[in-house]
Subunit: 438 residues, 2 copies
């Protein structure tokens, strides 16, 4: 006899939880048609029930005590959607201890405590779903763990933060400075009141840590991810990127080569002829290359109540299917079985190689180009093209160079030297270029 319903308890009832709840209730039949039984939300815990919400679950299932959910033996799956490290971590571990399955969209928590949480789930024999933690409505987690298991992925380039992508798109289209666009984005609700986590690249680094673990079977600590935000991007560099046939995007990059992993988040110039450069506004996309499958691109809404809510519900259906069959741990949470995970060496940022866009603010007098390129040459950095603009900015003119492939360490040392020249106003702007020469 088939179990009649899968019983769900939700901890946290903010934007994503409301979306998930709405989908569960409004698509009750559709979910049953695919899952084979109904999903029922039987309890929701939140500390602030006074907050106005677009959707109102029946009062009888509301509580302010998350512990009630953990203590309810009838609940099969606990959905943690409060975000942050504390007390989310304790709730998830509490649920696992009670042998309940867990669904979360908590990228910060998984990026920092993924190993411990996944380990606890495996030991307890419960499932942990986290599709909502990366790229909202794009099922990228399931894709890596189940769809691309034979793709032999060697690189990932992701636009994984909608706020940053919106800001960069507006800066490009409307030629406005960062601060102006940020405050517009805040008014429109596309950026938080405190946008730090997004604009510094930290949120992208969280998602990159999760994707890297699933793709390459290696844990990555946040501090191992070189992270640079978009607050230093100037309209002049966006305009110059266009002259080089490029756009600037905040990319989360992971690459495997020679047994080492490169993991970094930074503004990146990418050629206009690659599909990823057309991913605009709040949209996210992940571009993956695999030895067997070639390039792949997955595009969609990276955030929002219903898109991320639908990711959460897809996890509930997935775990529900396991519950109905009486199994768990069918797919290891980290994609690789614990005994087959390996700690791959993380490539030091100084040793990566890239193409570089360099903008010097130089005195408008003869000989500067020769002096600057002389220093670059000494550091084995060769130049593929130069733009020397006429217009002055504060008595200086932008001298812009696109390099051939060079080593980060050499570039940094050369720039330190060049920045000490009297003819150059520091700091020189450096933007890495990826996905083929423009």
């Amino acid at each position: 006899m088939m179990k009649r319903t899968i019983r769900i308890g939700m901890i946290g009832f903010g934007t994503v939880a409301s979306g998930a709840y709405q989908i569960i209730t409004q698509q009750r039949e559709e979910i049953r048609n695919r899952l084979g039984c109904f999903l029922d939300v039987v309890k929701i815990a939140d500390t602030h029930w006074a907050t106005r919400r677009s959707i109102s679950p029946p009062k009888r299932i509301l509580t302010t005590e998350a512990q009630e959910i953990l203590d309810d033996p009838s609940i099969d799956i606990v959905v943690e959607l409060i975000g942050g490290i504390h007390p989310a971590r304790a709730y998830i571990l509490g649920a696992i201890e009670k042998r309940k399955h867990v669904v979360t969209a908590n990228k910060a928590l998984l990026a920092v405590h993924g190993t411990a949480l996944f380990g606890a789930a495996v030991r307890a024999g419960v499932d942990i779903g986290f599709e909502g933690s990366v790229c909202g409505g794009i099922p990228i987690v399931r894709m890596i763990k189940e769809g691309l298991t034979a793709a032999k992925i060697d690189s990932i380039f992701g636009i994984v933060n909608g706020t940053c992508n919106y800001i960069l798109t507006k800066m490009t289209d409307e030629k406005k400075p960062f601060t102006e666009v940020l405050s517009e984005a805040q008014k429109l609700g596309y950026a938080e009141a405190d946008p730090t986590l997004d604009i510094t690249g930290t949120d992208s680094a969280h998602k990159l840590a999760i994707m890297t673990r699933l793709t390459f079977g290696t844990p990555v600590a946040l501090k191992e991810i070189y992270t640079e935000g978009i607050d230093g991007i100037n309209p002049i560099d966006i305009a110059l990127a266009e002259e080089f046939g490029c756009r600037i995007k905040l990319l989360a990059i992971a690459k495997l080569s020679g047994g080492e992993i490169e993991v970094r988040v930074h503004p990146t110039m990418i050629p206009l002829n690659v599909l990823l450069s057309k991913v605009d506004d709040v949209y996210n996309a992940v571009y993956v290359t695999g030895e067997t499958v070639g390039p792949l691109l997955f595009y969609g809404r990276g955030a929002g109540s219903l898109p991320t809510g639908s990711a959460v519900v897809s996890d509930l259906i997935d775990i529900g299917r396991n519950i109905l069959k009486g199994v768990s741990g069918r797919v290891p949470p980290a994609s690789f079985y614990p005994e087959h995970q390996r700690r791959l060496p993380i490539k030091k940022m100084e040793t990566i190689e890239s193409l570089y866009y360099l903008r010097f603010m130089a005195a408008d007098r003869p000989g500067v180009l020769s002096k600057v390129s002389g220093v670059l040459g000494k550091y084995k950095i060769s130049i593929s093209s130069v733009i020397q603009q006429g217009r002055k900015v504060g008595g200086r003119v932008p001298l812009v160079m696109m390099t051939h492939r060079a080593q980060e360490k050499n570039v940094r040392e050369a720039l330190a030297k060049i920045d000490r020249m009297a003819e150059v106003s520091k700091p020189t702007v450096l933007i890495r270029v990826e996905m083929g020469a423009p």
Copy 2:
């Protein structure tokens, strides 16, 4: 104690099978790391072992008798990769009867006999994987069945045939006629010696039938899919599409509205500002809209030995995970449980509504525009823009119109009337326009 290996028998050893075999052998450890045990190909049946292949499995596992595979009680999963209806269908049913799981990439077979094959698998309690049947390396089947279970998909627009997309891309970029590009594509191996299945849109219709069933839970007969190929596309229409800010792509379209399903395959103009219009060459892409997730795009290689081979192996891993846990039927083959599938009415082509691009070849004299638009008006077809070109083609000039939303039936009747005018050379060219007004 964990089962040591999953034993696989392959029937057919052509392009895709070689790719799958190569992946299974070369990624032996990687697969084990994710699956928890090894995949072993223990027998391969093919009728033509004399054919030269890039990869040579050990002779001891080769046979010319598919029946040997069906009769081998040690084989867990049978991979059918001979294509076509007969004897593929019999082999699959034979495998299911012997309680073996099945993996296939046979889109023609699934499009025609999907209901029977899925039914047999469900009754026998075995799994059937078919990720390789749609869009090669893009895991679109798994995405619909597992990733987007809460997306509430309402439309699909797919570029699902690489040959057609390659031909249309070259016709656009190099302004060459269809026949010339087709023969180039044949020389390059991008089109078959007999390209009928591809260029008539039939192959796209097969894939659309499969995607529609998985997405909307309804079977669709091939003959219910309105199917038009690309052989009638002229360079002049490609050039005029550009003047309207569009590109022509062969799209497989499925839409759900008002409880009815629209399913059609035909050359379609789509605006240059949508990502799908940038999907070029042999690449495939599926654009999906869902009520909860918004728009999604999945892009990648739609064919080829390794991309499609990797899809086949992802199915083997998926089924292997079930075998290790001792379960089957965890996800119904048709995505919906048999008792929850419904036969949705298929919208008659005459009743669909669309924007239309119409090219009349008209006599170059006053009054023709008025006469033509008069007839269109009578059939409630209003015109959003007109291009009347100066250049003559065989004593006639192209008179091109883009309509507002109109009903197919009205458009066809109006064109039949217009084509009888002395001032117009029939047939008038009709290309539907989708994805927003250009």
